[in-house]
């Protein structure tokens, strides 16, 4: 039933002359282009783009879309990514012309509604984090990490301190060390205990006056709350360091505990996770950060401030690190975040977290009997199972399990992360899934553990393509059409 023709590459579907002129005739006096622009600046030909009619473009992309799994079609328990339901009302409202059609350089008097919205966003995040200084500028979580580390660097520079080290647990997400490196820091890894928590001895051993920042994820990437977090932050503060919280897992703790209250000095949010911004097949996200009052002066410029009843962009921030991107930020994502927070209110956010944790623990309790979950009998909003026993006993790897799930109509969990669990399957159900869905997922997972291993090695069988040859892809990269 699939339409194979329409999903050829755009370039294969192209036929010279089939794209109709799309724009109106020119309504001002026209002059030859050669009179208006110098010859040296002009290309001799038009860019060699494909030529397609509108119906062909539509059919191409609609058919392509159907080759995807997505939250709107499938349970998508991709750990660390918080693939919750993306409310349709937020999409509708974010596309109101009064919000979507604003130019970033409009006079402030013509965007008071937008500035108020963003001002409120700042206030909401300050309240949820317990950290009063907020910048909405970063474009994604990793960008927020980098921004916050630059803030930390500016803070130390301002104090005349030279600190070059960023510490992070070995369970940290890859963006943490990468951000630290980009910000000019040296990365030192701190080990985890058998329970999956930060090893306090190892931390202590690494703490000295060189340490600028400890980056910590809490709940951590194993889905566990660092019970010693107060102790950890105290230890870091004692050597004059700052604690950065990777807020990717805020979905577990909204209204329950606040990073500022447990000692974090800086953090980022992932509105595309916690606050239901759609993931867009790989973005856009946003990465607003929140910091303590002491760090606030160093935040990127501008921030939204309120003078009387007028809102404006404050660019007069002499200690600011400057900008980390053009214009204001990924505003469209922030508008959706704003809608999400307003929809939920304090009670709703807390209940969302409670249910995220309930769903995860329920899954954990049902999965544990047949699939090992190395650390922790309880979890927060996600947990990390391991296929290592399955692999040892039946030769079935985490990857095989993932592919088997695709065949059964479920997206796979995150696999092989965090790195400290072998054959990791990181499962995050989110609160917007029903018990019925979780039960069906458990059933599928269980069946997989009993499935003929060869069937799983060959899986998936029901997807539009079977396993791609990734080695070939990387050895002789073909990164655009028509190359080979």
């Amino acid at each position: 039933m699939r339409n194979q023709q329409a999903t050829q590459l755009l370039f294969e579907l192209s036929r010279p002359g089939s794209a109709a002129p799309r724009l109106p005739a020119c309504d001002v006096p026209q002059r030859p282009v050669g009179e208006l622009l110098p010859a040296w600046a002009l290309s001799e030909d038009v860019p060699p783009l494909p030529e397609l009619s509108e119906p062909d473009v539509v059919r191409h992309y609609v058919n392509l879309s159907q080759l995807n799994m997505s939250v709107d079609t499938h349970f998508y328990p991709l750990g660390s990514c918080t693939m919750k339901y993306n409310p349709k009302r937020n999409e509708r409202l974010a596309s109101l012309p009064g919000l979507a059609d604003l130019h970033p350089y409009q006079p402030e008097s013509s965007i008071q509604g937008m500035l108020e919205l963003l001002y409120e966003c700042q206030a909401f995040l300050a309240e949820i984090s317990g950290l009063p200084g907020v910048s909405l500028q970063p474009a994604a979580g990793a960008h927020g990490e980098l921004t916050a580390l630059l803030v930390a660097a500016a803070y130390y520079r301002n104090r005349g301190e030279q600190r070059s080290v960023v510490l992070l647990p070995d369970s940290a997400h890859g963006t943490n060390p990468a951000s630290a490196a980009m910000a000019g820091f040296r990365v030192v890894s701190v080990g985890s205990t058998a329970e999956g928590m930060v090893d306090l001895d190892d931390l202590a051993a690494n703490l000295d006056g060189q340490v600028a920042v400890l980056m910590i994820t809490n709940p951590n990437t194993l889905g566990l709350f660092e019970g010693q977090i107060a102790e950890i932050t105290r230890m870091v503060h004692d050597v004059g360091g700052l604690v950065y919280l990777d807020g990717a897992n805020m979905n577990a703790i909204m209204g329950i505990t606040r990073p500022g209250d447990f000692g974090a000095d800086l953090m980022h949010f992932n509105p595309h996770k916690t606050f239901s911004g759609p993931h867009g097949g790989g973005g856009p996200g946003a990465g607003p950060i929140a910091v303590t009052g002491a760090l606030e002066p160093f935040l990127p410029s501008p921030v939204v401030v309120k003078d009387g009843d007028r809102f404006r962009l404050d660019e007069d921030r002499p200690k600011s690190i400057g900008r980390v991107r053009g214009f204001f930020g990924n505003t469209g994502v922030l508008v959706r975040m704003f809608c999400y927070i307003l929809t939920h209110g304090p009670d709703g956010l807390r209940r969302a977290s409670e249910n995220a944790v309930l769903n995860a623990n329920y899954l954990l309790s049902r999965v544990k009997p047949f699939l090992s979950v190395p650390r922790g009998t309880r979890c927060m909003h996600e947990f990390v199972a391991s296929a290592s026993e399955l692999k040892a006993q039946r030769g079935v790897s985490a990857m095989d399990v993932a592919k088997g799930l695709l065949d059964r109509g479920f997206h796979a969990p995150t696999v092989y992360f965090p790195l400290i669990v072998r054959e990791a399957l990181m499962i995050e159900p989110t609160e917007t899934e029903s018990k019925a869905t979780l039960d069906a997922f458990v059933e599928a997972l269980f069946r997989i553990t009993e499935e003929d291993p060869q069937v799983l090695h060959d899986a998936p069988h029901t997807t539009p393509v079977s396993r791609p040859n990734e080695v070939q892809a990387a050895r002789q990269p073909v990164l655009k059409a028509g190359k080979n």
Binding site: R31, T257, G283, F328, N330, V465
Partner: protein, 444 residues
């Protein structure tokens, strides 16, 4: 709560299965002392109807530039977005999926990204494009970082006619990296090759230029390319994708790295974001590319398919040694740009560029006819130009237009003290002769 499917009895059954008596018990891991003992201080929750009212009221307090006679420029433009772009980008299967970690269940996203990469190479004339960066400014900065690492040099020459915000971002990123920036002045609205010659030395990793530049003027790219390459420096250009319907493609004048703000390609102005960072390079830099790359390969049955590839560049594999920290990027905007380009085709891109050109020229003439406003520079422009307000200051011009529901600017004083009294005017294909005439009769 609107998005929680579990009923009270479901919740109870789940608690029973877990073996706890309340949800609260599940949070036992969190020490009591760290718990928030009060509700968050946020407005109470709203139903969809109330939220709709609230958001509509906020929206009503903004003047949508896209619906008024908007002549605002400076890197974000009011180009027409065909309905098809919105339709495709709002397909659930595209916008509610994530990074295609499971290629077998993500061929839609993967193929669309692969096509995007191809379209960008066609548009820019470069060898390779990645699957998107955050925005034009950060893409430009990442291009500079690539140049720094590729050349192992420690200086960057930057034209002052590059978007001031791009330059600010560059400064921010470079602060702790022990790299020096050499600014190339632009006395006449564009780089004078001799100035560039002086700024680019054997220590220069790259020369960063924007075409058309922030003032709307064209830069002498051929010459700048020669100057950079003569010193072994790379040429990094920031381009306006719409301009490539007419102007030389960066690949044609030897650019090594190309960044662009892709907003013009079917993305709403959205008060500055989410936008699309375009980043393309020559083949030889591919392994220094930040971000996602999609490659073609075959599946087990020999069927052509697509995967994320060269992942050893990326943070999740290489961690602190990665080419960048970028993870979530701007996939949906890249999709929008692809659909836009697929609809426009070569002729459409040429047409939109030429409409901008003709209307811009007409607007420039009309606006300067009265003598109140003067062109700030005497250089060829494509879709945007800089005006100097004689006597009056630029902010007043902006206010005057606004009073009639028209939008012009930004004014340049805040970035270029010497251009206080100057402002930008951009004219896209959406503006009619009537819009232009109205603006001219008001301001000229």
């Amino acid at each position: 709560m609107p998005y929680l499917p579990n009923t009270i009895s479901d919740q109870q059954a789940m608690l029973d299965a877990i073996g706890v008596s309340s949800t609260d018990e599940l949070f036992a891991m969190i020490p009591d002392a760290l718990r928030l003992k009060r509700p968050l201080d946020l407005p109470p929750g709203m139903g969809e109807l109330e939220l709709t009212r609230h958001m509509t009221a906020l929206a009503a307090r903004n003047l949508p530039a896209g619906q008024s006679a908007g002549f605002l420029g400076g890197g974000s433009y009011d180009h027409f977005i065909p309905a098809v772009v919105d339709v495709i980008a709002s397909r659930s299967e595209f916008y509610t999926a994530y990074t295609p970690y499971q290629p077998e269940a993500s061929q839609g996203t993967l193929q669309a990204m692969f096509e995007y990469q191809t379209l960008i190479t066609q548009l820019t004339g470069m060898d390779v494009s990645n699957a998107s960066m955050y925005d034009g400014a950060s893409a430009a900065v990442e291009a500079v970082l690539m140049a720094l690492s590729a050349t192992r040099r420690k200086r960057v020459a930057v034209a002052r006619s590059v978007h001031p915000e791009t330059r600010q971002v560059l400064e921010t990123y470079l602060t702790n990296l022990d790299v020096a920036i050499d600014l190339v002045d632009v006395p006449e609205g564009a780089v004078v090759p001799d100035d560039a010659q002086r700024a680019v030395t054997e220590q220069t990793a790259c020369l960063l230029v924007q075409q058309p530049n922030f003032f709307g003027c064209l830069e002498p790219m051929d010459e700048l390319s020669r100057i950079a390459h003569a010193q072994g420096a790379l040429l990094v250009t920031v381009v306006d994708p719409i301009s490539l319907g007419l102007l030389k493609r960066p690949g044609e004048y030897g650019a090594d790295l190309v960044a662009a703000e892709g907003q013009s390609l079917g993305c709403p102005m959205g008060f500055g974001g989410p936008y699309l960072g375009i980043l393309a390079c020559s083949e030889k830099f591919v392994r220094r590319m930040p971000g996602r790359l999609v490659g073609e390969t075959t599946d087990r049955r020999g069927k052509r398919c697509y995967v994320l590839t060269l992942q050893t560049r990326e943070q999740h594999i290489r961690r602190e040694k990665a080419t960048s920290n970028i993870c979530t990027n701007q996939g949906l905007l890249a999709l929008r740009a692809s659909v836009y380009l697929a609809l426009m085709g070569p002729q459409g891109m040429r047409q939109v560029a030429e409409l901008c050109l003709q209307k811009t020229r007409y607007a420039l003439e009309q606006l300067t006819a009265g003598g109140v406003l003067k062109p700030a520079f005497n250089r060829p422009v494509l879709k945007e130009f800089t005006l100097r307000a004689a006597g009056e200051n630029a902010a007043k011009v902006v206010e005057k237009a606004l009073a009639e529901g028209m939008l012009v600017g930004p004014s340049l004083g805040r970035w270029y003290p010497e251009l206080d009294g100057c402002l930008l005017v951009a004219v896209t294909e959406k503006r009619t002769r009537d819009d232009i005439d109205r603006l001219a009769s008001l301001l000229a």
